[in-house]
Amino acid sequence: MKESVPHKKLPVALIFSLLGILFVLLFVADILLGSIIIPVKEVFYSLFSTSETNETYRTIILSFRFPKALTAIMTGAALSLSGLQMQTVFRNPLAGPYVLGISAGASLGVALFVLGFSSVLAAGIFTTTGAWPLALVAWAGSFLVMLLVLFVSMKVNDIMTILILGILFTSAVSAIVSILQYFSNESMLKAFIVWTMGSLGNVTKAQLSVLAPAILTGILLAFLKIKDLNAFLLGENYARSLGVSIKTSRIIIFLSTSLLAGTITAFCGPIGFIGIAVPHICRVIFKTANHLILVPAVILTGSIVMLFSDIVSQLPGMQTTLPINSVTALIGIPVIIWMIVKNKKFVSVS
């Protein structure tokens, strides 16, 4: 469908090129900027040569900045892509990666682990074990929810029922988490709160080797369903009449979403608003409803937005970092407000 309007073809390629350039610039900037500002040439030395490198810079770049920048890219791409898929499948512009309750499931896993076992675990356990245990329980939580959602979607035909169940499940989980918080000790509570603020910097190189294949699988599944995603835009009746196998397709899309959002939430915490805002930014930039353009567009734009958020959050030249969740909220919420105001007439019509 991209080729249907020939005069639009050039701008699409042009926009992708410009975004590509922006992506490279922000990626480099994200590595250079931070509490210590690194000269450009050191990046190339540490990446491509072994001799002339300043060891401190080399360590910072290879062990911290580079994995963090990669994590930012994957986070932006994954959350935006799962948001796009959810908005299309639920035909709801306010749907995001977490509507199925994936973030709630991850939170429950983390809350049960951190808060529930706080009496058993020694305080400061996370400083010794790293982020692995948190990531694993969060993953387990979100995948349990995913299985539940897949089970429900095999039984229930109505997509709105699935949406409502997702919202109710999220509320129920927050209630349980609140109870756990009430009864937990201070240091564990802080560990949990810190997790909910999100962080890109805790992902180690070893964890990247788990994160990357999971995200790539999710992206691959989404690419396989580009055509079906387009059909879902017309609603399920039309999709079915065009020969789409609704249940199979929906399950693969949910699987992709859960893999993308669930994995990111497990390793980086529940990062909000990117998943809702980026698909809308892309629709405005590309002026298309075709997922053949939108899927790569949200991957690229999501990465850009996340790299930018990360640069902002590490406050170049200063010793502190802001919680990434607050930064993405401050970037994402204006977009969502703008979208609601702009769509007001359509909301009031139907």
């Binding site: 249907s4 055509k227 009746n237 079915r240 065009l242 409803a289 053949l292």
Partner: protein, 334 residues
């Protein structure tokens, strides 16, 4: 596969849906309907009788309880959804509101069953889409966003999408709902042309009975006291149209070919005159519930002329300049 061979037969079909409690609710039973290529069929029946359910079942969206749906001798159950998409296309009442979707892209959805895994359109696909847009008279609208065209234009675009799907059978659920009168006629006419010229089987449900009676080749009538299929004229002659409504106030006037509202008569009026003034004066009196009589015994006598209306009642005579004034005087309490 030969395209001109898609006979549709519903045999002793019983349709309905699962209720929330899990109990099946049968809403239409023992239906025996059929349609052949080149035929435009209208499914009519009162609200809630199950027209949409029947069409959805026929389109393969939901299972049925018993009986059979045969498409050129094959059971619909044994045809997979990808193949069904090449046999039947569907136009629903659902309003498609997709931002940034052009008319061309919407119609191009029809090529979905034929395109590759990412949905890239071939030159052939594009020419089929252009042809479909031309057939519904939407040339020049290709790049217009579907959110910014009128309801009538959007309905045409949806029909073009069904055409682009290039199926021998097109099913439409109330394609003329929400349209103004001239658009209703145009859509019916368009579908009639498609059925006749392209030998497609067109099955639609509608509440626009007056138009359906004039335009369709066959009626499928679903009522509480049985089902009927056949030419609309046979349906009139056999009195099926009077069966459509359960209430006593609406009837079908077989002479006029129209539905009317049954009223209590207020007074007897004898009307004289000729041509259009007479016809429309009669209608106005009818509307307000006056009985038109021929014989000498009457309450009022009206003489309808070209631009004036005389009312004679018990020796008094009054002249009016319009039907409106005449009716206003008649309706004023004496």
């Amino acid at each position: 596969m030969k395209k001109n061979n898609f006979n549709i037969e519903l045999q002793q079909l019983s349709v309905g849906y699962e209720q929330p409690g899990g109990n099946p609710l049968e809403i239409l039973k023992a239906i025996n309907f059929s349609a052949t290529p080149g035929e435009m069929v209208a499914l009519i029946g009162s609200n809630g009788i199950g027209k949409s359910t029947l069409l959805r079942t026929l389109a393969g969206f939901q299972p049925w309880f018993s009986g059979n749906i045969q498409i050129s001798g094959r059971n619909l159950k044994n045809i997979n959804s990808k193949e069904v998409a090449r046999i039947m296309s569907f136009v629903s009442t659902e309003n498609v509101r997709v931002p940034n979707l052009s008319v061309f892209d919407l119609v191009a959805y029809g090529r979905f069953p034929y395109t590759n895994w990412i949905g890239m359109l071939s030159e052939l696909d594009k020419s089929v889409v252009d042809e479909a847009i031309k057939n519904v008279g939407l040339q020049g609208f290709e790049n217009r966003p579907v959110m910014q065209i009128s309801d009538g234009e959007r309905q045409r675009a949806m029909i073009a999408r069904a055409l682009a799907q290039d199926t021998p059978v097109i099913i439409l659920d109330e394609p003329t709902a929400y349209l103004d009168v001239s658009n209703k006629y145009e859509i019916f006419h368009l579908l009639q042309v498609l059925a006749n010229k392209k030998k497609k089987t067109i099955i639609l449900s509608t509440h626009d009975l007056n138009i359906a009676l004039r335009e369709v080749d066959k009626l499928w009538i679903a009522t509480d006291c049985g089902n009927y299929q056949g030419a609309p004229e046979d349906a009139v002659l056999q009195g099926w149209l009077n069966q459509l409504f359960k209430n006593d106030h609406v009837g079908f006037d077989a002479d006029e070919g129209e539905f009317f509202f049954k009223k209590e008569f207020k007074a007897k009026v004898k009307v004289e005159g000729g041509g259009l003034p007479l016809t429309w004066t009669l209608r106005a009196l009818n509307r307000k519930g006056y009985q038109i009589v021929m014989q000498a015994e009457h309450d009022y006598r009206v003489v309808a002329k070209e631009n004036s209306w005389e009312l004679i009642s018990k020796g008094n005579q009054k002249t009016f300049g319009s039907v409106y004034e005449l009716m206003a005087f008649l309706e004023t309490p004496k």
